[in-house]
């Protein structure tokens, strides 16, 4: 009340001297008015759209109200505790997201998070597990009244739950095959833990944000993946070669068979033709056997003998003619 001072002063200087009557008359109403203004001012409060408020009257829980303009008894009789019940909160483990201007940077090297992520698996291997949980307040009274440090409680339970889960899984399950189960089980177990304390928190989701072997052994794990790919490649290449060569061989086989079949047809046809020709000749030959025979012989001779460049016709009465012909010479040459 900035005008309170001057008004208090005014009676001292002016009213007191002139008359006390107006002071007597006006002071109580003014005080009353001020009282009402102050009370009125502190008797209202607003709850934002994403909030709820818990009202304590003389420290005792009275009710929980939703968004809007509300009244309360002022002067510390009613106490208002507001909480954002529609907001989804994040907790990060193994890393931290750092805001830098408009971009957020995920920092996996955050020093205090290192201890959170290095976990021992059931087969005594190490894995680095980064995860995020999203939660919201489901019951504001519980959130305020039952646990002092809810955030720290959520962090503690989720670390303990995650370690227990990972401690009962193989390294392969943690890194690859068991990830969905981890998320589901973690959500369930963290929720159960929080419900035991009546935190008033509802876990929305648990998300694994990268599960890796420690950097020191990462190359060995990569080598396995590479070996798997390499194996597939080798096999595929062999299969490819097989698929290329076998059909070609089948083709060649078919070709050989078809050719043989062609030979068969040709052979039979030719034989049949030859035979038919022979039989036709025979039919005619039978009619004039001797003459035909002679004719055929002579025709052949006429054909054959002129081809010979060296033809000797020797009388059977001449003897010892062979050396003269130089047949011996020929023999030596051979």
């Amino acid at each position: 009340m900035p005008d309170y001072g001057p008004r208090r002063k005014q009676p001292d200087i002016n009213f007191e001297q002139i008359s006390l009557q107006p002071l007597k008359k006006f002071l109580p109403p003014i005080i009353m008015l001020l009282f009402i203004i102050i009370s009125g001012y502190s008797a209202f409060y607003t709850v934002k759209a994403n909030e709820e408020a818990v009202i304590l009257r003389f420290g005792k829980y009275k009710e929980t109200v939703g968004p809007g303009l509300h009244t309360k008894i002022p002067y510390g009789i009613d106490k208002i505790l507001k909480g954002e019940v529609k907001t989804i909160y994040n907790e990060e483990f193994g890393f931290r997201t750092r805001q830098r201007g408009n971009t957020s940077i995920i920092d996996y090297e955050f020093p205090e998070a290192q201890e959170e992520k290095l976990m021992l698996t059931a087969d005594l291997n190490c894995a680095e597990v980064n995860w995020v949980i999203r939660y919201k307040i489901k019951a504001l009274e519980e959130y305020f009244f039952n646990v002092r440090d809810v955030r720290e409680t959520i962090r503690g339970i989720s670390q303990s739950v995650m370690r227990t889960l990972v401690g009962d899984l193989s390294i392969d399950e943690v890194l690859t095959i068991g990830r969905i189960e981890i998320e589901q089980m973690a959500k369930e177990n963290i929720q159960n833990g929080l419900d035991e304390y009546k935190c008033g928190i509802s876990i929305q989701s648990v998300l694994l944000k990268g599960v890796d072997p420690p950097i020191a052994v990462k190359d060995a794990f990569n080598a396995v993946n590479q070996a798997i790919q390499n194996k597939d490649k080798i096999i595929n290449e062999a299969e490819g070669q097989k698929n290329k060569l076998l059909p070609a061989a089948e083709g060649k086989k078919e070709q050989a068979i078809r050719e043989a079949e062609g030979y068969y047809v040709r052979r039979i046809n030719r034989a049949t033709g030859d035979v038919k020709a022979f039989l036709a000749v025979y039919e005619e030959y039978k009619k004039a056997e001797d003459v035909t025979r002679r004719r055929l012989f002579l025709e052949t001779m006429a054909d054959v003998l002129p081809k010979c460049e060296k033809l000797y016709i020797i009388d059977k009465d001449l003897k010892g003619l062979l050396p003269i012909l130089g047949l011996n010479e020929e023999g030596i040459k051979k």
């Binding site: 690859t176 060995a220 080598a223 590479q226 076998l246 079949e261 030719r270 016709i313």
Partner: protein
């Protein structure tokens, strides 16, 4: 007139101070101990507005909610001589503010007490079990992406008799026993928040992990080679089969063709064997006699018979002239 006002104001002031001193509020989140000249007389757990003797009695508030406690990582040697670091985490609350006030006084001292109690319970319990017993929570079968690792793990398998949850329950029970209800503290929960090998051992663990993986990588490599050889081997076998099948069928067909041809020829030629051999012989003369052939013939033969004259056979002359 003015004096009256002052008197009234003073009276109001005194009443206000009196009321303030005789009334107090216990918030939903708190509980209180009323002390008289510093000596605790009663506990107030009821929330709301309360009355006490003014000036003589004081109110001390204690939190009613579940409180936090977080331990540091401490090194423990397990029963199977593994050197591990374990950090525990607990929740507690003040259930009897009066005895808490008299025995410990302030919350910080409660935290200090828990440091001792919980950490010694963790040490005692964890060191009584082998590492796997603390680490694992069940006897579930571990699954792997490779058969080899699964088999290797199976050989190292130990039966978990208790597991993490039961051991944590044991720690909680032991810590609760040490607290003995003396301090007005209830230990709500104890959990293991961190468990791992100590830093000095970790490089060895990494070496083991590395060699295990390299072994698997090599196995994949040789598996690939084996399958490749198998595929190529089968392929060659198939090739041989296909090729020889083709040869067999083709040769069979050719043989059949020849056989049938022979049969056809034979059937026909047996009808006139003489003619056949005559014709065939003539035919062969055509091919066997060439320019290089030196042919010496005797006049005795049928063909040159006539070169020597007609003396012997007149019939032949007839025949000759007939041509």
């Amino acid at each position: 007139m003015k004096r009256n006002v002052i008197i009234i104001l003073i009276a109001i002031g005194i009443i206000a101070i009196f009321l303030k001193s005789s009334m107090y509020v216990v918030d939903e989140r708190l509980q209180a101990v009323i002390t008289q000249f510093g000596k605790p007389v009663r506990t107030v757990k009821e929330h709301g507005l309360h009355v006490k003797t003014p000036f003589i009695q004081d109110v001390r508030y204690f939190n009613k909610r579940i409180l936090n406690w977080t331990g540091e990582i401490s090194d423990i040697l397990t029963r199977d001589k593994e050197n591990i670091g374990v950090a525990s985490w607990a929740r507690w609350k003040i259930v009897d503010p009066l005895s808490f006030y008299t025995s410990l006084g302030i919350e910080a001292r409660g935290q200090g007490l828990l440091d001792e109690v919980i950490e010694s319970a963790v040490k005692n319990v964890v060191s009584a079990y082998p590492l796997k017993e603390v680490l694992r929570n069940s006897n579930r079968k571990l699954e792997y992406t490779t058969k080899e690792l699964e088999v290797a793990e199976e050989t190292k398998k130990v039966i978990i008799k208790k597991g993490r949850d039961e051991i944590t329950a044991e720690i909680l029970a032991m810590a609760r026993r040490s607290l003995e209800d003396r301090y007005g503290i209830e230990l709500v929960d104890v959990r293991i928040k961190y468990i791992n090998y100590v830093a000095a051992v970790i490089p060895k663990i990494y070496d083991r992990m590395r060699s295990e993986r390299i072994r698997i990588a090599n196995k994949y490599e040789s598996e690939g080679r084996r399958e490749e050889a198998e595929i190529l081997g089968t392929m060659r076998k198939e090739l041989e089969r296909i090729e020889s099948e083709g040869y067999r069928t083709a040769e069979e067909t050719r043989g059949q063709a020849d056989a049938e041809a022979i049969k056809i020829y034979a059937e026909a030629y047996t009808k006139a064997p003489e003619l056949y051999s005559f014709l065939k012989t003539l035919e062969t003369y055509k091919t066997t006699i060439s320019a290089q052939t030196r042919l010496i013939l005797n006049t005795d033969g049928e063909y040159f018979r006539y070169l020597k004259g007609f003396e012997k056979d007149g019939g032949a002359v007839e025949a000759w002239s007939l041509e």
